[in-house]
């Protein structure tokens, strides 16, 4: 099928009233959590995951995706007006966006941020639509060794891009892989590491882990930090950017979109990394780098375009290969699997409505977001005045109800509590939970492909190096890893994370 036909299929799904409604709901919730500091999109997606299980698969993915890219829009509003990133990918938007607000240019900064996000979202949707078909076609040639090597690459990427010590990130991946294996072994039916607990037969629940680590644990740690929400009493003024501002930001948007689209596809990549890289690139390539940090419009346009593009293109590996590139995509895999959809290249051929419907919905969602954001900005700002102490008890309650409702099981709530405590421990010792959740999701898949590959080769591990695609992927992983432990890059990486 050609691109137009595919997109037509997609829009026929995305434009049904029900799916438009879920898309709108997702975008709205996403904007809301994006605006509110202290509530991350991953928390929200984890929290709402259980409630999407009753929806049709396409609707549920459309809504969850909407939350993710919606948060990229919302995050910039808080960054510009309050100088607090509503969301981690908006950190760099604070630098110049807030300076513009101080100079009375808050309106144009917000407008450029929204326009940049929309432009990037539109382009990224087209990129996903064109890149997915060849990717999925390539993936259909994959057999067990290739899949195994691909997952090695994905996990390596997650380690390279994790904050903090690489050793800890590797350990977290391995712990995740190991805990992913708890439950009945699919090949032999033997219960593994279950302590004889019947509830663990199907493995440790994905929802309790995700909600515990990304919902409750984050919340408990956030509450321990001092809250700072002094709202800048800025006049929004006119939203329209001046001609010069517009002219300066268009190329920056395009550069940001290009960079973000590439970084989003990389394993471990996504929105936050894209915005950092785009800001750094704009500053380096500018003829007047001294303007950055004092209200340069390019410093708003490029990262805002990049984070939205990165957020969207990080769906490519998920939709075509079934491999999540970051923690949010790991939650999406969880959502798909509980819906009974096995993520992988076959989704595109066996369920084209789902595949293209989600892609097309990204564009309708972006259109809705620009409408939601610009005229309603006053409403979002007033939400910032709601104190956090009125919000977090609701999150705790919804996390509990969500976890319980998956299997009507109080046991799951207990598991969630355990992983919440573990999550706090991980945060305190400086071990990131994102590599863990990726390992946990990929654990059973990796083991299955590893066992199958080794069985076909009769126990000869060389099979992973004899097949060209598999060897290429492993070599790439090794290079990435070597670069990671080389001292030169390590200092550079720390610098990037510090900025």
């Amino acid at each position: 099928m050609d691109l137009i036909g595919n997109l037509a299929t997609g829009f026929s799904v995305a434009l049904t009233p029900a799916n438009l409604g879920f898309c709108f709901l997702g975008a709205l919730i996403g904007t809301l959590v994006g605006v509110l500091p202290g509530i991350a999109p991953i928390t929200t997606i984890a929290m709402l995951l259980p409630f999407t299980f009753t929806l049709p698969p396409a609707s549920s993915l459309i809504m969850l995706a909407g939350i993710f890219y919606g948060a990229q829009y919302g995050g910039s509003t808080t960054a510009i007006l309050v100088n607090v990133p509503g969301e981690s990918s908006a950190i760099v938007t604070c630098l110049d966006g807030h300076q513009m607000a101080r100079k009375g240019r808050a309106g144009p900064a917000l407008a450029i941020a929204a326009i940049a996000s929309f432009a990037a979202g539109t382009i990224a949707t087209l990129i996903i639509a064109t890149a997915s078909a060849p990717m999925a076609w390539l993936a259909l040639k994959f057999t067990a060794p290739e899949y195994f090597s691909l997952m090695v690459l994905g996990l390596t990427g997650a380690v390279v891009l994790a904050h903090g010590a690489p050793g800890k990130a590797v350990a977290m991946v391995v712990v995740g892989l190991m805990l992913g294996l708890v439950g009945i072994d699919v090949n032999t039916g033997a219960p593994r590491m279950t302590f004889g607990i019947a509830e663990l037969g199907d493995g440790i629940g994905f929802v309790p882990i995700a909600i515990g680590m990304f919902g409750i644990a984050e919340l408990a740690v956030t509450l321990g930090r001092p809250q700072d929400r002094t709202l800048l009493d800025v006049k929004l003024g006119s939203l329209w950017p001046s001609r010069e501002e517009f002219r300066a930001s268009v190329p920056a948007m395009l550069r940001g979109t290009a960079l973000g689209s590439i970084l989003g596809v990389l394993p471990g990549g996504g929105a936050a990394l894209s915005s950092f890289a785009a800001y750094a690139f704009e500053k380096k390539s500018s003829k007047t780098p001294e303007r950055f940090g004092h209200g340069a419009i390019e410093g708003v346009a490029a990262p805002e375009a990049a984070n939205n593009a990165g957020a969207q293109t990080s769906f490519i590996p998920l939709l075509t290969l079934g491999i999540p590139g970051n923690a949010i995509m790991a939650l999406m895999v969880g959502a798909m699997m509980i819906q009974g959809v096995q993520p992988g290249p076959q989704v595109m051929t066996s369920q084209p409505e789902l595949f293209w419907g989600v892609i097309a919905s990204m564009w309708t969602g972006n259109l809705m977001l620009i409408v939601l954001n610009l005229p309603l900005i006053g409403l979002w700002v007033s939400l910032l005045r709601v104190p956090y102490r009125l919000m977090f008890p609701a999150i705790v309650l919804f996390c509990c109800i969500g976890t319980y409702s998956v299997g009507n099981s109080a046991f799951d709530v207990g598991v969630m509590l355990l992983f919440a405590l573990l999550g706090v421990f991980f945060i305190k010792v400086g071990a990131e939970p994102a590599p863990f959740i990726l390992g946990f999701i990929l654990g059973p898949l990796m083991e299955e492909n590893f066992r199958r590959a080794m069985m076909l080769s009769r126990g000869d591990p060389m099979v992973f190096l004899e097949r060209p695609i598999s060897a290429g992927l492993l070599i790439l992983s090794a290079v990435l890893f070597a670069v990671l432990v080389s001292p030169a890059l390590r200092s550079g990486r720390e610098k990037v994370f510090q900025e």
Binding site: V175, N187, T188, F392, L397, Y404, A420, K428, G430, M455
Partner: protein, 148 residues
């Protein structure tokens, strides 16, 4: 003397050793098999071994890498939110969603340093009503509303 030790790293190493050791023990009861025909215990055992080795390496480094104290933990939110979650698991099957929600909100509300009693009470009643309306009436989750 204790100054030289990296406490967070040592704690993480301890966690790895404990978890890896436990997994190794549990997986030991499973059939291992051969590389060409792996039993259910092959991969878990291998991974547990890797975890233990990483734990050992990290522990050694933490002992000599130089001092870092364990970061401050805000126990108030941790304990209160943890208790709220435990309350939910214990109470929901017994007394229904309405009262459980109120208890969870009341308990977790005190995790905020700037909590106000009356505000928290209102929030508990409001969120409880909202939860019943949304989850039982709206989404029709199979939950009881009241203890009876």
């Amino acid at each position: 003397m204790g100054r030289r030790v990296d406490i967070p790293d040592l704690a993480f190493a301890g966690f790895l050793l404990a978890l890896g050791g436990l997994a190794f023990h549990l997986a030991g009861e499973l059939q291992i098999g051969r590389a060409g025909e792996m039993g259910p215990g092959y991969v878990p055992r291998g991974l547990a071994l890797v975890v233990v080795m990483m734990g050992l390496g990290m522990a050694l480094r933490a002992l000599f890498a130089g001092g870092r104290a364990f970061p401050a933990v805000a126990f108030r939110p941790l304990v209160l939110i943890g208790t709220a979650v435990a309350l939910f698991a214990l109470l929901l099957p017994r007394i229904g969603l309405a009262l459980t929600s109120a208890a969870v909100v009341l308990c977790s509300g005190f995790a905020a340093a700037d909590v106000r009693l009356r505000e928290n009470l209102v929030l508990a009643v409001g969120l409880s009503a909202f939860a019943v309306a949304l989850f039982i009436i709206g989404l029709r989750l199979p939950l009881r509303t009241w203890p009876w």
